[in-house]
């Protein structure tokens, strides 16, 4: 019985450690601090990235700052929002631009580019790694996804 308890404790400890590790190496969405949408549903954010939702609550047009294809950030965004690869998300975005349904996203090459773009554009949203998000510059805030 005590062996079973020990195994269960070890498995529990491993799961906690695994979760802590993924949080430390995870990503978050950031927004311009002037954007009063501090929290958003995953479906609604997906709509922002695929051209269905065109403006925030305050009327500011949605602007997507997109990390490079193949980057860890974009892979995470694609997996979180549409449950697919970054290629499929990029193809979907290009299709919506072609249809005329959305503005072409701004390409960002790094987390610093991403923060600079979000600071500059009132409606911008972008993904950065969790370490970068620990010290956000003025004018940039976390976009909490429900």
């Amino acid at each position: 019985m005590s062996h079973l308890r020990l195994i269960a404790t070890c498995i529990g400890a491993l799961l906690v450690a695994e979760r802590a590790g993924s949080a430390a190496g995870g990503f978050v969405f950031v927004r311009n601090a002037k954007n009063d949408t501090a929290q958003i549903g995953k479906e609604e954010l997906k709509d922002c990235y695929t051209g269905k939702k065109k403006s925030w609550k305050n009327g500011t047009p949605v602007e997507i700052a997109l990390n490079a294809g193949g980057s860890a950030e974009l892979k995470w965004v694609a997996s979180e929002l549409i449950g697919a690869s970054d290629d499929i998300l990029l193809a979907k975005i290009k299709q919506e631009v072609f249809k005329g349904e959305m503005k072409k996203p701004t390409a960002v090459a790094s987390s610093q580019d991403c923060l600079a773009e979000v600071k500059k554009a009132a409606g911008a949203v972008c993904a950065v790694d969790a370490d970068t998000a620990k010290s956000l510059p003025d004018g940039v805030a976390i976009l909490d996804v429900k």
């Binding site: 709509d47 065109k54 403006s55 047009p61 294809g69 697919a84 499929i88 072609f98 249809k99 005329g100």
Partner: protein, 358 residues
């Protein structure tokens, strides 16, 4: 002479495209995106006439090259699509498929003026003609196939579109109202610069969305002017199009179904019924798909279809099955088999396509 004129037009269009791209690239306050789309096909076909006799052919083709420009400035946006396509035979034509300027006041009100794809059904606005890379099958279905001006619905129109979307949680309603010049005297006569009659075409499309499921319907009415040089259509025809559609196109599923009733009302009423269903499921980079299209024409020849190709094969049913492989977001490779049975003939095709979008 015609060839040199087309070459001249093509060169002018290319130069204009380049000039606009260069001019706008330097304007930092604006956003401009440039896209190039196209496809290269190879097809093997066997056609058996109902009266007897079989013909075989195979060919490479370059159906379309699409130069796409889109610019935005605050709530204003501009979009144009210059299409090089093969109209008939081997002649490459230049077509300004879309040219529109929009003002988006809010999500519930966007006004667009210019030449745009009419808001009829699902396919016509979801898959613009030049973007073969985004289609599952090789080509747009017969209902909206602009090749040789053979589409059944008026795919492009010149006028105004008013669009809005009202989201409410996981639900959303959207509307499109088109007020346009409508049809010309024939299906290949698009009223780009002049409307031949005083009346306008009106189209209303309403949609309900639940998560990613779209259910919609539309009603369209237009008055088609008579062809004074052709005794087959000496009078004004009232065109009425009623349609419904349902679509769920979210990774990994792709399901579309739509149907229309097209009536041309003059001394007699001619009604054409047409529809399609299309389904696919994506596994990693590969999507197997299936499409079925059918059309039923009036038993007497519809005078409006007489000048073009819509009714020349009679009633038809077409089934396509294939595989689409996307190695990256800019390239699609497709393999497709098609079986099409019509009153006049039966066609069997095997095709492959490399489509690109950069």
């Amino acid at each position: 002479m015609k060839d040199s004129l087309i070459k001249g037009r093509a060169a002018a269009a290319t130069l204009a495209f380049g000039a606009v791209a260069l001019a706008c690239a330097s304007a930092s306050a604006q956003e401009l995106s440039v896209g190039v789309y196209g496809n290269v096909d190879y097809q093997v076909e066997r056609a058996t006439a109902a009266a007897g006799g079989t013909t075989n052919q195979n060919h490479f083709s370059i159906p379309t090259l699409d130069l796409f420009l889109r610019g935005t400035m605050d709530k204003w946006s501009f979009l144009s699509e210059v299409l090089f396509d093969i109209d008939e035979g081997n002649t490459i034509g230049v077509d300004l498929d879309r040219m529109q300027v929009s003002y988006e006041y809010a999500e519930w009100l966007k006004v667009t003026g210019g030449r745009f794809h009419s808001s009829i059904g699902y396919y016509n606005t979801a898959y613009p003609q030049g973007g073969a890379i985004y289609l599952l099958p090789l080509h747009r279905p017969a209902l909206v196939d602009q090749h040789d001006n053979a589409s059944l619905i008026p795919t492009s129109t010149v006028g105004l579109n008013i669009h809005g979307r009202l989201p409410a949680g996981v639900h959303a309603f959207s509307y499109d109202l088109d007020v346009s010049n409508g049809r010309g005297r024939a299906a290949d006569d698009l009223t780009n610069g002049q409307d031949w009659n005083q009346s306008k075409a009106f189209n209303l499309r309403l949609r309900y969305e639940f998560h990613d499921l779209i259910v919609g319907a539309n009603a369209y009415v237009d008055w088609i002017p008579p062809r004074t040089d052709d005794p087959i259509q000496p009078e004004t025809l009232r065109e009425q199009i009623f349609g419904a559609h349902i679509a769920y196109v979210e990774h990994p599923w792709h399901v579309i179904a739509e149907g229309v009733s097209i009536q041309h009302v003059g001394a007699a009423t001619y009604r054409t019924l047409a529809g399609l269903t299309e389904a696919g499921y994506t596994i990693r980079q590969v999507t197997p798909y299936f499409r079925f299209t059918a059309a039923k024409f009036p038993s007497a020849a519809d005078p409006f279809w007489a000048a073009t190709h819509q009714q020349e094969r009679g009633n038809f049913q077409t089934a396509d099955a294939g595989i689409k492989w996307m190695p990256n977001d800019s390239i699609a490779v497709k393999f497709e088999l098609e079986y099409s049975h019509a009153q006049l003939d039966t066609r069997e095709q095997a095709s492959t396509q490399v489509a690109f979008g950069f």
